[in-house]
């Protein structure tokens, strides 16, 4: 499961497509969750669903996980703001998935430090250039 935060920072969409591709090549069944805007951006960027086949509305997904209709083995939660960090805390509490907090943006370091729930942190001060974040994601071993 990949959970997208607010799509205003450019590296997020790039990394979501990259990570989905990478996970699928390793045999994972990947679902991407996000707000209506984030999912629209993803679908326009990948019109034939070559990289991402399964998408879900973020708030609907939270309801389904709480009601135990669905759960995942691994969750990558993308965040660059306090709200994104709060959503990831919710997943940490409601899901059994191993949680990776993917923290980026101008305040990545401070935001990363504010995470005090169980999560493996992947932190890079990246906004326009995805490579610092990509390099850290490449080091994650699943």
């Amino acid at each position: 499961m990949l959970v997208m935060g607010c799509p205003e920072v450019p590296v997020q969409m790039s990394m979501v497509i990259y990570l989905t591709h990478k996970l699928k090549k390793s045999g994972w069944d990947v679902t991407v969750a996000g707000t209506d805007a984030a999912v629209k951006l993803l679908k326009v960027a990948d019109p034939e669903s070559y990289y991402v086949q399964k998408t879900v509305d973020l708030d609907e997904l939270i309801g389904d996980v709480v009601e135990k209709k669905v759960d995942f083995d691994v969750c990558f939660a993308f965040m660059h703001s306090d709200a994104g960090m709060t959503y990831a805390a919710t997943f940490s509490a409601i899901s059994k998935a191993k949680l990776y907090a993917v923290v980026f943006g101008k305040n990545a370091e401070a935001l990363g430090e504010s995470i005090d729930y169980p999560a493996e942190k992947i932190v890079a001060k990246a906004t326009h250039n995805p490579n610092p974040l990509k390099n850290k994601i490449d080091k994650v071993i699943l």
């Binding site: 935060g5 607010c6 799509p7 205003e8 707000t35 805007a37 984030a38 973020l58 708030d59 939270i62 309801g63 996980v65 709480v66 703001s81 306090d82 709200a83 994104g84 960090m85 709060t86 959503y87 805390a89 919710t90 509490a93 409601i94 005090d116 729930y117």
Partner: protein
């Protein structure tokens, strides 16, 4: 869009951090209850939050945090005696559960009663 946004609500705090929203609820409520993230209110809203998630009661109004990914955290207030009653009931159940746990533990720890003062001091 959650059903909460279609209800009659008051916004007490807008576009803030979750921590500040929690502190606002703690300082401005007559009663404060703590719930787990994912606690369901009204028809279909599951509370998003970093534990401990505070919910407040002020008169007939329930105060709670509402998080939107692109806009931050809001403190909303909605009049609902039904939801307030559910919050209180939830708290009561939590206390009863912890008392039961404590009771069982106390029983397990206590063992047989000492037969003499000497035996009591040995413990």
């Amino acid at each position: 869009m959650s059903c909460v946004e279609q209800m009659k609500y008051k916004l007490h705090l807008e576009r803030t951090s979750f921590k500040e929203a929690r502190e606002y609820i703690e300082k401005n409520s007559d009663e404060v209850y703590y719930v787990d993230p994912g606690y369901k209110i009204f028809k279909d809203y599951y509370i998003i939050g970093v534990p401990p998630v505070a919910m407040g009661v002020r008169g007939n109004e329930m105060l709670f945090t509402y998080v939107k990914p692109c806009h931050g955290t809001f403190v909303m207030g909605i009049d609902s005696e039904e939801e307030i009653a559910r919050l209180r009931e939830n708290e009561k159940k939590k206390i009863e559960k912890s008392l039961k746990k404590g009771g069982l533990k106390a029983k397990a720890d206590s063992g047989p009663a000492p037969a003499s003062y000497g035996e009591m001091w040995k413990k």
